[in-house]
């Protein structure tokens, strides 16, 4: 006995959404809130994604990853559209994504990406030991989305996904 086939639109959403972020393979584009919509129009799969940081070089790789995954799932060659509005913020990240980041050793952005005062310190718990005794080492890291921090309690350095 075989289970009932999954409706194709739901399957398309699952396949496209499961594409990993090339710089954060622990997260998918659905986790990050990059996947905005999927449609099947006249037999062609259409995928809407939204850019994250203006200078993020991963966007081209993400679009290529979507095309590869959707084609491999038998939908044919999809169209990938860029949707600008509403602008992406770290508030679009799911709770599961924040948890996955923390387990991976990256401190997730605090929720509600509000503007903070220019020189106010950002309280950020250590993703390894949970201590609040942390400090920023450098506001820019190895990718456009990360900063470098360290924990004064467990002495471990860690990355922080910037709150944008």
């Amino acid at each position: 006995m075989v289970s009932a086939p999954e409706p194709s639109l739901a399957r398309l959403r699952r396949v496209a959404g499961a594409v990993p972020d090339p710089e954060l393979p622990v997260l998918t584009i659905a986790d990050l809130g990059i996947l905005r919509d999927v449609r099947i129009v006249g037999g062609t799969a259409e995928i809407d994604i939204t850019p994250t940081y203006s200078g993020c070089p991963a966007m081209a790789e993400i679009a290529a990853g979507i095309i590869r995954a959707v084609e491999a799932a038998g939908f044919g060659r999809p169209r990938v559209n860029t949707v600008l509005s509403p602008a992406w913020t770290t508030d679009f990240m799911t709770a599961a994504a924040r948890r996955a980041l923390r387990e991976y050793g990256i401190a997730p952005p605090p929720e509600a990406a509000a503007r903070r005062p220019r020189f106010a310190a950002l309280p950020l718990p250590c993703p390894r030991c949970g201590s609040a005794e942390t400090e920023e080492l450098a506001p820019f890291g190895a990718t456009a989305c990360k900063a470098l921090w360290r924990c004064r309690a467990c002495r471990e350095p860690f990355e922080h996904f910037k709150c944008h």
Binding site: Y53, S54, A138
Partner: protein, 258 residues
């Protein structure tokens, strides 16, 4: 067909978009010149990251200009195939990197303006511009925080760093007034709520600068004689050299791609 130069089909909106894209591109290129030369590994990454954000902002504005222009051009054509006189960027952003204090003072001046400008643009009646601005304003606020923290560290640091920071602020000050002047062809865009009137940003900018400079124990310069011309395509000698380097490949090998 490959070409070494394009003529833009100009409208007020296209010119407006190109001027602001040019600001971001030229400053992004200047910051990229620090690659391999920055004072520390962390600052190397910071300057490269800020450059990347600025070039990303420029790409978004150029891409929108290409849509509006509808003449078959793309973002690379605008960056690589326009002559110096067709660039409408501020004179401030094309000024050479100088020492680290000059780079930081230039960044504080520009980011403090861009922070206000993107926030104002986020309320634009044009939904594409509003969406681009909502993204860019967060990045720009981050750039401003970083540059301001450095200016404070330099100004409130050693006698040497203080003197260099003070000299940088004085030297670049005459390039700041141009930020707040709208071109006559932008009046209708301001009227329609598409573009912010930069003149309204002058006082908030001055207040932000006063706060940062006070913290840095640096004097806010007196408003004296001011340079202008960048928005009209009359540039300092430095832009031509920057473009000669940036555009070299496309000029020498038209249509080259990889």
């Amino acid at each position: 067909m490959s070409t070494t130069s394009i003529t833009v089909r100009e409208t007020p909106l296209v010119r407006f978009l190109l001027r602001r894209a040019d600001d971001a591109l030229i400053l992004g290129h200047r910051l990229s010149e620090w690659c391999g030369r920055a004072p520390s590994m962390e600052e190397e990454m910071a300057l490269a990251n800020i450059a990347l954000d600025l070039i990303g902002q420029a790409r978004a504005l150029y891409a929108y200009a290409a849509d509006v222009e509808a003449a078959g051009h793309d973002e690379d054509d605008f960056a690589y195939l326009r002559p110096e006189r067709a660039f409408g960027n501020l004179l401030l952003v094309e000024q050479p990197n100088g020492d680290f204090a000059v780079t930081i003072a230039r960044q504080v001046f520009f980011s403090a303006f861009a922070d206000l400008w993107w926030r104002a643009l986020a309320g634009s009646a044009d939904p594409t511009l509003a969406a681009l601005a909502a993204r860019a304003e967060k990045e720009t606020a981050y750039h401003l925080r970083h540059a301001a923290e450095w200016l404070i560290r330099l100004g409130d640091g050693t006698a040497e760093s203080h003197a260099r920071a003070a000299a940088a602020v004085e030297a670049l000050w005459p390039f700041t007034s141009e930020m707040f002047e709208a071109e006559p062809d932008e009046a209708a865009l301001v009227e329609a709520g598409i573009a912010p009137d930069p003149a309204t940003l002058r006082d908030p900018w001055r207040a932000a600068l006063a706060e940062i400079l006070a913290e840095a124990t640096l004097a806010l310069p007196e408003s004296g004689w001011m340079q202008k011309g960048g928005r009209q395509g009359r540039h300092s000698e430095h832009l031509g050299r920057l473009l000669a380097e940036m555009q070299h490949l496309q000029r020498s090998y038209p249509g080259a791609s990889w």
